[in-house]
């Protein structure tokens, strides 16, 4: 990959700006969008994500190779799946009833598998969902740092998983690849690595032994 992939981050709440800022620092061209007018994001972008471009969602997505979904899961139904056709989509969302309420559509099975079924024209990778927004930036470390934590990257398409593993690596985490979205259930709320910031060896053992990831 000579030219870095272009990122669109959808969502400017707790999580989106943090991912966008890390990606800008790692050298990716980044656009950020919400459901509304980019004018409303101008100040937030200027002060908190310098280097990123506020856009309308459709424009941000059209110009991107990778689209990061960082919106509350209950808003996911408002996204038109056709908007994301042909894109590599990173699902950073979580089904977390304790903080967001019960969603019938997500009450059975892995949330990213349900997201992928709805986004039939996209390739979905589950990543960047399991580290708290308040820690994602503070805990990032360059490769080789003894305190560098691991981050899970799960998906059914090995090339897409490799690409997002590269993104995780460049923003400051040792990627741990999981061979399917099904296996990515180990990254969900209630799982062994959710909310925990763990080094590579401990992280790998935790997700490999987790019953959620066993087919």
């Amino acid at each position: 990959m000579n030219e870095p992939a272009r990122l669109a981050v959808l969502g400017a709440g707790h999580v989106g700006p943090v991912i966008a800022r890390l990606a800008v620092k790692a050298g990716y061209p980044v656009a950020i969008a919400t459901s509304g007018d980019p004018e409303n994001l101008a100040l937030i972008t200027e002060l908190m994500i310098p280097g990123a471009q506020p856009r309308w969602a459709r424009d941000a997505v059209a110009g991107a190779d990778i689209v990061v979904l960082a919106i509350p899961l209950h808003r996911f139904g408002q996204i038109d799946p056709r908007l994301l056709d042909g894109k590599l989509v990173v699902d950073a969302m979580n089904y977390w009833p304790a903080t967001e309420g019960v969603l019938e559509a997500f009450s059975r099975g892995g949330s990213s598998e349900i997201v992928a079924r709805r986004l039939a024209g996209s390739v979905v990778v589950k990543a960047l969902n399991h580290i708290g927004y308040h820690e994602l930036e503070a805990r990032a470390r360059p490769a080789g740092d003894p305190d560098r934590p691991a981050a899970g990257v799960a998906g059914d398409d090995p090339a897409a998983v490799a690409m997002i593993a590269g993104l995780a690596d460049r923003i400051g985490y040792d990627p741990v690849r999981l061979e399917s979205l099904r296996a990515g259930r180990a990254l969900e709320p209630g799982g062994p690595v959710f909310g925990a910031v763990l080094p590579l060896g401990v992280f790998e053992r935790a997700v490999r032994q987790d019953a959620r990831s066993l087919a």
Partner: protein, 342 residues
Amino acid sequence: MTYTFGLDTFGDRNGDADGKPLSHAQTIRNVVEEGVLAEQAGLDFFGIGEHHTEYFPMPAGDVVLAAIAARTERIHLGSAVTVLSSDDPVRVYQRYATLNAISSGRAEVILGRGSSVESFPLFGYDLADYEELFEEKATLFAELVRGGPVTWAGKTRAPLLHQDVVPHTESGPFPVWIGVGGNPQSVIRAARLGFSLALAIIGGPPARFAAYSELFQRALEKFGRPPLPVLVHSPGHVAPTDEQAKAEFWPRWRDIITLIAPERGFAIPTEESFDAETGPDGALYVGSPETVAQKIAANLRVLGASRFDLKYGMPGLTHEQLITNIELYGGRVIPRVRELLG
């Protein structure tokens, strides 16, 4: 800059010397005593955060604040926070306007979600509607606080038509803040509504919130509003020495964070993570008066904030430990912070 200092509690259920929990009723009576002591210790603000749990039995903080108001003269009294999304803005206004009357103009309100979500199922609200509920209700609350007849229509409560909402205040709007925990769009909303900004910093490096403070002042400019104050709310515990403060606070903090971690996505605390949070770059103000004063002064500067509210207590700490905390905070920490800030 004029600095002010407050104390916040969630009605953390007290323990006795043997670690046995006191009753909810005794804990609430102790909070009244702590509020009265806060004024005697020279504090500017005493806040009570709404919670509905066995270990934070504090759903009606305004009632407790009224008891404190009757026994104090000077200290400001407010919520920290009021969970507005699962309440009725008219009722919230009425309760705090009543507190404002009882206290002769000392009421304040901090609106937010706080750390609690348990009020949603309790009162029949869906957490998925949180954003819409808060946006609508905060907008109505801004109208109510301004005074005069209110005309309003929305989806989350009955409409109001030229409605006179009583009691009227004697000297205009009381202070209203919006509590923000990390969502920049909430900062923009506070500026748009003309509310002050309360930064709830409960984990990680406080300095990362400096951008929120700047965002707030820039957004106020953009909306054509004058500058408004920023406050910092963070947990902590003051004791005569660093060792004692950490020894008292650590097991209580570990137990409560471990309990709520699954629903909040927190990591389970370790002695290592506790050392990081109580160190100079962490969010906990636990230590001797000097340690805590240095940290408060440094962060008020970095964050461009003019008020610091220490969330004191943790479930299981004793009333006596909290009294020592309050006395040291008022008598030693605050004078030292003022000295450090010049």
